[in-house]
């Protein structure tokens, strides 16, 4: 099956913010399929950049291009408290993928019969992530913009999702904002917002311990 490869082109001079710029890309950035991390201190523009790329927020200046089916998963996304994860999956996912989604839910110990409102933060996050991951369109390139998907998630679930990400790197581009919690976390591709400037750092073997000193 052939599919259009997902990509994000951020042009040099792109400025993001709410009215006034909070970060600017000095050089153009090209991201292709795979996982890219978005790193910055609180309030420096991670969510703003994701929203801009999702086109729910206009850039202050400059331009960018996104190729692929986009999904932006807000950090505070929550479904109705009375509905269960099983029902959410049934309503949102294609029938052919429902069984796989439920299987994944079982493997990461998500109780799909419990109302969403009674789930822990981590389990709500698992529900949202499964809904987004299984909404990916196999026949085309996909862009997943994930805002803090790891917060509240246990290590096992996190590993499971990272494994899924590795397997689907060819037709899914994931831009993941996060605050890593262990130094050895590998980040071969990272968009960093330092102060008011944003740049792309990449390299095999690049880890969080090397990058965190750059954040001011």
């Amino acid at each position: 099956m052939t599919h259009q490869a997902p990509s994000i082109h951020l042009d040099s001079g792109l400025e993001i913010g709410y009215g006034s710029p909070i970060a600017r890309f000095g050089e153009s950035v090209i991201l292709s399929g795979g996982t890219h991390f978005l790193l910055a201190r609180n309030g420096r523009g991670k969510t703003t950049l994701l929203r801009t790329l999702a086109r729910t927020l206009k850039p202050v200046a400059g331009s960018f291009q996104v190729e692929g089916f986009p999904q932006y998963l807000p950090e505070d996304l929550r479904f109705d408290a009375s509905i269960t994860p099983a029902m959410i999956f049934r309503m949102l996912l294609p029938k052919a993928r429902l069984a796989d989604a439920l299987e994944l839910a079982a493997s990461i110990e998500l109780d799909v019969r419990k109302p969403y409102g009674r789930l822990s933060t981590g389990n709500r996050r698992k529900t949202n992530l499964i809904a987004a991951e299984f909404s990916v369109k196999p026949e085309t390139g996909n862009i997943l913009l994930l805002d803090e998907p790891f917060s509240g998630l246990d290590a096992f679930a996190r590993q499971t999702f990272e494994e899924i990400w590795r397997k689907s790197a060819a037709n899914v581009l994931r831009l993941v904002s996060c605050h890593p919690d262990y130094d050895s976390m590998e980040m071969p591709s990272a968009l960093m917002i330092e102060g008011k400037s944003a740049r792309h750092l990449q390299g095999n073997g690049q880890t969080w311990s090397q990058l965190k000193s750059l954040l001011n």
Binding site: Y18, A54, R55, T56, L57, F69, P70, Q71, Y72, L73, P74, D76, L77, R78, F79, D80, S82, I83, T84, M87, I88, R90, M91, L92, S135, L145
Partner: protein
Amino acid sequence: MRLFRLTIATIFQRNSWAICAFAVIAMPFVLPVISSATEKPLLLQPARILAAWNTLWICSLSWGLFTAAREGEVNAKSGVGEYFLTTGVSATRQLFEIWLAVFCFISPLTIITALICQFAAAPADPAEHSMWWTLNLQYASLFLLVIAPLLALATALASRFGGITGFAVTLFLTLYGLYGVGYLDNMLRIEENPLLQGFLLFSPQYRFADLTQRLYFKSGALPPAAFWMMIVYFAGILAVYAGVSRLCFRTKLSA
């Protein structure tokens, strides 16, 4: 139609619709029994008509508008609207899908009410009976035409100004259109006032869609010309409300 399916499932899961369904089915049979109609069997059927349609109005204006407002507010506040927006579901489409989900609960209630009226409160006289189907059908059509844009308006206002505003404004608007305009009209017959006359002219005349009294007094079906004029009038209101709703509706909280 993923948002439609999600909204349908959410409303279904909350169970409050069951109270409305129970009320619409049971009240037309229970209320006449506990009213003075038991002393005069002749009044039993008119009492059933009143109970059936008034229960439907009450359920639609309370549960229907509240649910529509709640869904609009939740969609904007929970991040669900923003998520769907990024996947290509436009704001217009989201408003339509939420509206359709709520309407899917209201329309069966309307059909049930019309059927109860048709089969459990039809007049015995053959001449009156022949008009009963038409009048019930006319009432159900007008009712749906009135309630449909109000649901959309409740959803849209709630998405921008909050659930309480969405619910209260549409409830007030409906009550004003059902009862307030009648009082205003009577008042202006006694004392003329050009300003209020103009206000009345642009008020939604929902009282014309309430055919309960026509059923109650067995006045027969509306003449086709009058009925179609009302359809056009309420379709005009629908068009205006649809435009206002789309302008007000938003999929996410402003930054």
